[in-house]
């Protein structure tokens, strides 16, 4: 009982604050912005994917009305969400819980990415090392057939580098 009283009194205080702040009589009107803020965390029960705040169907309007009633009764945001998830199951929540079986949803892809990243890092290291052991003693820095930079103008070097990156193999001369 004490908890509820505290919630109600804090709500009243908040209301007074809001009224004072915006200079509008919010008491008669449902606070749409707060309802929408709560509804954003819930799913539309009929049309998959959309959240309750954005959905324009009749059912969703009724659910938003229900949120309005709960808010009027002094429920906190979290209490409203709990109310809905107890009544309709966890599938009403936009963000699935990060616990139980659903934890797999959140964790598994990252395990996969980390594993792939780790494997890639190892593979790249081996790849690079094997090359170095093979290449020791070789003096040619660039692969044969590629023009060696001769010009002293760094701008020309740059354009040649561009050409070489593109695998064009031609020099600057061709326009």
């Amino acid at each position: 009982m004490g908890l509820k009283l505290r919630i109600v009194s804090s709500l009243i205080l908040m209301m007074i604050g809001l009224v004072a702040f915006t200079g509008q009589a919010l008491a008669q009107e449902p606070d749409y912005d707060r309802i929408n803020a709560i509804a954003k965390n819930l799913n539309c029960p009929t049309c998959a994917g959309l959240n309750l705040a954005d959905c324009r169907t009749q059912t969703c309007a009724q659910w938003r009305g229900q949120i309005g009633d709960l808010v009027q009764d002094g429920y906190s945001d979290q209490e409203v969400l709990d109310f809905f998830s107890e009544r309709y199951g966890e599938q009403v929540l936009q963000a699935p819980p990060k616990s139980g079986f659903t934890l797999l949803l959140w964790v598994l892809p990252f395990i996969a990415i980390l594993a792939a990243g780790g494997w890639l890092a190892l593979a790249m290291r081996n790849w690079a090392n094997s090359k170095q052991t093979l290449a020791t003693g070789s003096t040619a820095p660039a692969s044969p057939g590629q023009p060696v930079l001769t010009s002293s103008d760094p701008a020309d070097d740059y354009l040649r580098q561009v050409d070489r990156d593109l695998g064009l193999g031609q020099g600057l001369d061709q326009t």
């Binding site: 954005d54 892809p109 996969a112 690079a128």
Partner: protein
């Protein structure tokens, strides 16, 4: 008439199967006449499917409502334009449309590449025709658009109201073209595997096809977002809906493919990997189509549930199985020509790019399919909504933007850390200055937004400096004026500078997303006539909206249009009117909430009419401020433009081709 269409499709199915079988037999036994016959059969398939499309269009336009499909997606009130586009307004018709597009691509590639690709071509025919046969088979046996009703309905029920929007009319065909055209690189990859061609011929041959497919896929994604923003009236453009994801996932695999093929072309590396990526891309295209059409995941886009699911699954398994078998048996043919020279190199940057993109693909795929697994394994059918996708992918998107800035500065083979550091200095400074200014002057305090915009500044600086270096090098060494230098630089290295333009597009898109995701403001009010509501963003300013009443708009027969009129003032100055609309479709008993917008480069004021009491004494409006959102669309244009530059045929190449053709035709063709 409908019977002719059905017979044409049945013949097309037979012919496609014939083409596939005969081309393989011809290639194995080296019988050129069989291969020619297969080619002609493939052209025949295209002709027959085209005939079927013409007939269904005829039925749609003339309003032949005894045909079930026509009755479902069209009605007497529909204007000609919507009658024509109703071809892809429902399951059966859109599958036919899909098959038709694929048959056109199959014919086009035969037409263009027949002469130059003798060895691979029979298998290209086989792969495209088998895929085509599957889709035509679906149309013939499961989703027949020519099915007749036992009675004669007086009128059809009309096109789904959601689809009556220009964006939605062109979004499906564009997306389909993107999807379908990936069959060409896939077919060439498979042909290269079968014929043991380890070179990059298949990649070079299909480079422009892949880029074009990717272009259409990107355009399709963008149009989908634009349509959602323009019509659905929830203030956003991307809802992480399973069907949206189904088109994003192939894009997330095709994008690293387009990057890592450069490793194959330039360095003879990653041959297996590229092969795997294109196989995966096309498999995901088919899987995405399956997801959209089978009803295994619920989505606003889903077509009616049908028997298509199991067939699709069977096809995917076969396709993937055969690809995998070929891939594994050809493993040794695809050895790399070169080793990795250094951990600090363009090669490494590309590998990292591949890792991140595939990571994104894995996350999105997993989140999209999770409800299915969850239901099957523990019986919970949970909904995986935007919060999951946003929280999990955000860090990876940030890494992508960062890589986009670093990778162009890292040379192939081996980079010296010192030189890399030098070239990173200015861009990094630009990024940091961006962040500092945004924090101090603008007042951006959210860390994610600040970091994201800082990365955008960094990468934008890198890309612009790359342009500048190229242009100024030409200016100095050739004395060309700057505009000429820019034009020639891009013309000569279209792939590189087109690619950079795509990067700039991506950065602009990212800026739009960051602005609208982090700083969207919304409010909802119930107003009596003459009353006002305000909405303000600390970065944009304050809008005041004054309700002036409702009026009935010019309504066509099939719907009632109600307009809410609001006077807008911005920071105290009058700024015109904004008129959000509620359309009520009488036949479908379906309301549509069409927003109205006031767009500037800084933001959109986006207002919808939620509802009203009586004749409009009071009405409820929901208003949003979406900061920077228009950069998303501008970035989209830049992105598409860049892709077109990169994919445009080389004038030299085409010139040579024309010249050689003229030669072949001989002396009878006088030279110009």
């Amino acid at each position: 008439m409908p019977n002719i269409g059905y017979v044409a499709l049945t013949l097309a199915l037979g012919l496609a199967v014939y083409a596939a079988v005969v081309s393989v037999v011809g290639a194995q036994r080296r019988l050129p006449e069989l291969i020619i016959s297969a080619r002609n059969a493939a052209f025949g398939v295209t002709g027959l499917v085209t005939l079927a499309v013409i007939i269904i269009e005829y039925l749609l336009i003339t309003g032949h409502y005894q045909t079930k499909y026509v009755a479902e997606v069209s009605n007497r009130a529909a204007p000609l334009f919507f009658r024509i586009t109703a071809l892809w307004g429902g399951q059966d018709g859109s599958l036919l449309f899909w098959s038709w597009l694929m048959s056109i691509f199959a014919a086009l590639v035969l037409f263009k590449k027949w002469g130059s690709m003798r060895i691979m071509m029979p298998y290209v025919v086989a792969v495209t025709q088998i895929t085509l046969a599957f889709f035509i088979g679906l149309v013939v046996f499961v989703a027949n658009p020519f099915e007749q009703l036992a009675f004669f309905p007086a009128d059809g029920s009309g096109l789904n109201p959601l689809l009556r929007h220009f964006g939605m009319i062109i979004h499906p065909p564009i997306l389909y073209i993107g999807f379908v055209s990936f069959v060409i690189p896939y077919a060439f990859a498979i042909a290269a595997l079968v014929t043991r061609q380890s070179g990059d011929l298949w990649i070079r041959t299909t480079r422009r096809w892949s880029l074009t497919a990717w272009l259409f896929l990107s355009l399709g994604l963008m149009l989908g977002g634009w349509w959602a923003y323009d019509v659905l009236g929830w203030g956003g453009y991307w809802g992480w809906d399973p069907v949206e994801n189904a088109s994003l996932i192939p894009w997330l695999v095709a994008t690293p493919f387009l990057h890592s093929v450069m490793m194959h072309e330039n360095r003879g590396m990653l041959k297996r990997w590229n092969m795997a990526l294109i196989i995966l891309t096309f498999s995901l295209v088919i899987e995405g189509t399956f997801l959209t059409r089978s009803g295994v995941v619920s989505s606003v886009h889903t077509f009616a549930q049908s028997a298509i699911g199991p067939l699709f699954l069977g096809f995917i398994v076969c396709m993937f199985g055969v690809s995998l078998y070929l891939f594994v048996t050809r493993w040794d043919d695809l050895n790399s020509d070169n080793e990795l020279d250094s951990l600090v190199s363009r090669e490494s940057a590309f590998l990292l790019n591949n890792l991140i993109f595939l990571g994104l693909a894995v996350i999105v795929w997993w989140g999209t399919h999770y409800p299915m697994f969850s239901e099957a394994l523990v019986g919970d059918r949970i909904v995986v909504g935007p919060p999951f996708f946003e929280q999990t992918t955000a860090p990876l998107w940030a890494i992508i933007v960062l890589l986009m800035g670093v990778a162009p500065l890292v040379p192939w083979r081996q980079a010296s850390l010192k030189r890399l550091g030098d070239s990173l200095l200015w861009p990094a400074a630009a990024g940091l200055v961006t962040m500092a200014l945004l924090y101090i002057v603008v007042g951006i305090k959210i860390f994610g937004a600040l970091l994201g915009l800082g990365l955008c500044g960094f990468t934008l600086a890198v890309t612009l400096i790359e342009y500048w270096r190229g242009v100024s090098a030409r200016h100095r060494s050739r004395g060309e004026s700057y505009p000429v230098a820019l034009k020639r630089l891009v013309a000569r290295n279209r792939r590189r500078y087109g690619g950079y333009l795509i990067h700039i597009g991506v950065i602009l898109v990212a800026i739009g997303i960051i602005g609208s995701r982090f700083y969207q403001v919304e409010t909802q009010q119930n107003l009596a006539i003459g009353e006002s509501m305000t909405i303000s963003s600390e970065f944009i300013g304050t809008y005041e909206l004054t309700y002036r009443g409702l009026r009935e708009g010019a309504s066509p027969d099939d719907r009632i249009i109600t307009e809410g009129i609001l006077d807008v003032s911005f920071n105290g100055r009058p700024a015109g009117q904004i008129i959000p609309v509620r359309e009520f479709f009488i036949v479908q008993q379906q309301p549509m909430t069409i927003p109205d917008k006031r767009s500037t480069l800084a933001d959109d004021l986006y207002v919808i009419l939620g509802g009203w009491e009586g004749t409009g004494e009071t009405a409820t409006f929901k208003a949003y401020i979406n900061p920077l959102i228009n950069w998303l669309w501008i970035g989209g244009f830049v992105f598409i433009f860049g892709t077109m530059i990169a994919a445009w045929p080389n004038p030299q190449e085409t010139g040579q081709r024309v010249a050689s053709k003229a030669k072949v035709r001989g002396a009878t063709v006088p030279a110009k």
